[in-house]
Symmetry: C2
DNA sequence: GTCTGTGAAAGTGTTCACAGCG
DNA sequence: CGCTGTGAACACTTTCACAGAC
């Protein structure tokens, strides 16, 4: 489909935001959009938008911009939006259950399909129609539900153990909310969301805003 | 304190992880730690650890490494850990209430001190000992509770409105969970946490793992 | 010998600037 | 003209590699 030049994860991530914006334009029956229109909406430069899109082909029309419907279709194809990915939430605490309830995920080809925990008081309960199952069943559940992405929301001390178990069960994509660096083989892709760290970084800039 | 060379936000963010690790070492009564020890724990190179620390002075001892207690104290000072920052959660939905309950925040100089919402059914209720107040009271609440950081967990359609109100009330640090690019003056620092996008990016690599 | 601190080199990502198309 | 597509320039980060301290 596209040439083999390496594309940065940041660029890929931005493509998803282009898709969101262009979808809105389509829904509003707007036919054309320029790179600077998109950039303005997303606080990015027009050049960046064009570069990112340029990695995958030429979708635009010189002097006119991009056809919204075409661009939407192209992005959906590039980003694999035709496919469906199932997610398992590992650790059904505050954050885990909030994510299970968060409507933002169960759209767009992503679906929380399973939940695991080690707490006997939780195992067997249902949340959002999903049965919480024992961590011991990880392999089985992941297979049965055809899960390919895991969200780790267990305490830091349990995260590596959980990750090992998940990887052993075939998971190769992890969204890790535990504030530790997971040790995984390089065939496994981990994205970390470290909320304390985000807040701490903000606080640093507050503390130093004068200097 | 330190020279005026610009230090990247990524480097600052890593310093917080060094502080976490070195705190663990101190708690385990380990006296010395080398840059490669820290790097191994955090999946970073030894050189990176030294570079990051080097921005703020010389804490290490050639041939021996860093004294854990001294490094901990130095990092706490650099990172402003002696100060206390209050946080307001704006939008007490699933995610907002999960964050309020999340124990990871109410430590280390960060404290969720207030909550705002626009839903009359929620206003007046207490969560984790914090009264949910009306968004109309934003200015008052922020002043009274000496809040300096806002966490936005309202729906995307409300996020800009909420941000405007917060900024008007004096907030200059925002952690934004809404999947839109907030438009703010450049005196305001925004960090975005876009959970759908993180998952989508993972799914992209899944879809293309063969190529 | 071990490990820090740091310039220099390499690598990566972003912006510029403009040729060329509609 | 306006806007895309893209090499070249620039900026920023990370890694290398080694002199110097213990």
């Amino acid at each position: 489909m596209h040439n083999n030049k390496k594309i940065s994860p940041a660029a890929i991530s931005r493509l998803f935001t282009y898709l969101r914006e262009v979808t809105e334009f389509v829904n509003m029956n707007i036919r054309k959009v320029s790179s600077s229109d998109l950039g303005d909406r997303l606080n990015l430069s027009d050049a960046q938008v064009r570069k990112d899109l340029g990695h995958f082909g030429q979708f635009g029309v010189s002097g006119s911009g991009y056809n919204t419907k075409q661009l939407k279709a192209a992005l959906e194809k590039i980003l694999g939006k035709d496919k469906q990915w199932n997610i398992v939430v590992v650790g059904v605490g505050c954050l885990g259950s909030a994510l299970m309830s968060y409507s933002g995920f169960n759209r767009h080809g992503l679906k929380i399909a399973a939940a695991l925990d080690t707490d006997d008081n939780k195992i067997g309960n249902y949340l959002e129609g999903i049965k919480i199952q024992s961590m011991d069943q990880a392999g089985l559940v992941i297979k049965q539900k055809a899960v390919s992405i895991a969200i780790i929301t267990v305490p830091a001390s349990q995260a590596q153990i959980a990750a090992d178990k998940l990887i052993e069960s075939g998971i190769i994509c992890i969204l890790n909310f535990a504030p530790i660096a997971l040790n995984v083989p390089n065939t496994v892709m981990v994205k970390n969301v470290d909320l304390s760290r985000e807040l701490e970084t903000l606080s640093y800039f507050l503390a130093n805003k004068g200097s």
